[in-house]
Symmetry: C2
Subunit: 312 residues, 2 copies
Amino acid sequence: MARTNSDSGLDVTGLPIGVVARDLGLSQDLLRKWEARYGFPEPGRNAHGERVYPQAQVDRLRLIKRLLDAGLRPAHVVPQGDAALRALINEQAPPSLPAEDGPIEPMFDLLREHDVPALEARLQAELLRGGLEAFVRDVAIPMTEAVGRAWSQGELDVFEEHIYTEAIGRLLRNGIAEVSHARGRPRVVLTTLPDERHGLGLLFVAAMLSQRGARCLSLGTEMPIPEIARVVRVMHADIVGLSFSSVYPHRLIGATLRELRGQLGEGPEIWAGGGGVANLQHSVRLRGVRLFTSIDDAQVALTRWSEVQAQG
Amino acid sequence: MARTNSDSGLDVTGLPIGVVARDLGLSQDLLRKWEARYGFPEPGRNAHGERVYPQAQVDRLRLIKRLLDAGLRPAHVVPQGDAALRALINEQAPPSLPAEDGPIEPMFDLLREHDVPALEARLQAELLRGGLEAFVRDVAIPMTEAVGRAWSQGELDVFEEHIYTEAIGRLLRNGIAEVSHARGRPRVVLTTLPDERHGLGLLFVAAMLSQRGARCLSLGTEMPIPEIARVVRVMHADIVGLSFSSVYPHRLIGATLRELRGQLGEGPEIWAGGGGVANLQHSVRLRGVRLFTSIDDAQVALTRWSEVQAQG
DNA sequence: ACTTCACTTTGTCCAGGACAGATGCAGACC
DNA sequence: GGTCTGCATCTGTCCTGGACAAAGTGAAGT
């Protein structure tokens, strides 16, 4: 005599729209519009007529979000079934796995075994072995990419990603603190704009630049634009470094960078990087903003900055 | 022949509703409802008929938000003018200023002068002088409260608060790493729920408990409830420590804690603390959840936990 | 190739309404 | 006095259905 939810005419197992929107990083309005325009998602309703999203639909939405972040268009993606979505993802992903004999693989295993002390020790050892710059290039960045990929494919839990972020963040901050000069040049302010919560990229850049004599001030994430302008003024910064992950809405990058450019005045340079910038249409050309697609670009730019300063 | 915005019949200087809502931590729906119910805010409209909030109204909304976070009711607060709001805030605030001869005052000055290296050095010295536990109780917590108070009164910029957070966070994480035992008991998982981005409190607790032999795993902020349950299961944690700042919506604390309690099963304890818990109505009694109003409660609870374990 | 321009797509905002859960208060009861 | 109970009010979130600007697309013209 089992009585399931579907027997009652109501699908009451699932998550409310507010939770789904927050977890996916989409607005409630947008979820409703997709439902009206593309027929998906198609949540059940609770006794009060409110949308209730089954877990399966939330999972599919996560795949959709990932493809949209990679630059595909909603009409091509949102109506697709699970199989088609996975096929699209396989097309997208360059299957550049980390070398099996490299340092990434064993650390990844430690993370999956949740052996936090061992993971931290291993990372620390790698840092000491090759120095900060090599550590960032050969360990931190590939490992972060591997973790991100594994997470988005459901092979890694959210908490495992958090464990990694905590560990690598602590190491990098300490590394930066050790090599940082109190009076170096240029002075670089590093942060992200509102709605961008991923700050690891900033640490990579801060490590690279600090190692080479720049004086980096890391402000963490989600700094309002007027506030960035104020810091730059107060601290007499030469450069503002911004990071955009691929989750950051593409359409906003151009507009917000222009806004910041306007508020900063002529002097300070703006350097922007991260996955969101790499996905950007090249049509977005911004005067007075340098776009980086790789961490090496930042080093090149730093060298050039120093040369120009020496000449001027 | 100056032509101001008001001449044109449109008030076009200000922020759109989306930005205001995000910056204040309020929903767009709520801003519109306040406007309809209480007559405030009363934004201008741009050429397209969209709300445009002048800076002055955003500032007043910030005062309002602060009073609501302290537990006042919207009908008493939202319609008030600036003067009345400031009066209410003065009633609220216990003017417990830091002792002038204590360690807080000079560090606060360093922060206001943006002398980051000196601030970090000073904090480091305090940590070495008295040890981790005294540092947390006598320096980190009072300083954090002072910074928060100064920020909410507009005496400190957002970026100055971020600078402080970065500095104190790095010190605490290192301190925790140094005293942490790989095999201590109890095992504590520390995190915050979604929508709660303030994680400093977790570091305070982690420092206290690690110092006394517990094994703390700090997962950072905004961990979904099912994910917390998974960590606890995988890591065989004895205790889940949660932090709620006063910004976290009070109404949600009870419901989410009950939800977590249900998903955790019988074994693990739940400890919750932070400004949000302190403001909570005592009517919210939760079985199987321990509420802390002070950092000392955590220490007491740890001692008691160890006793019970020894007996059992 | 490279602009121009009309057309389509897409995310956000709007109005006004409904309602559940919390909060506060008056009165009953111990 | 203290505590409970029921009721009215308050308050945040969700609903529908519509409008529109900015970004993206593609075809035609230079």
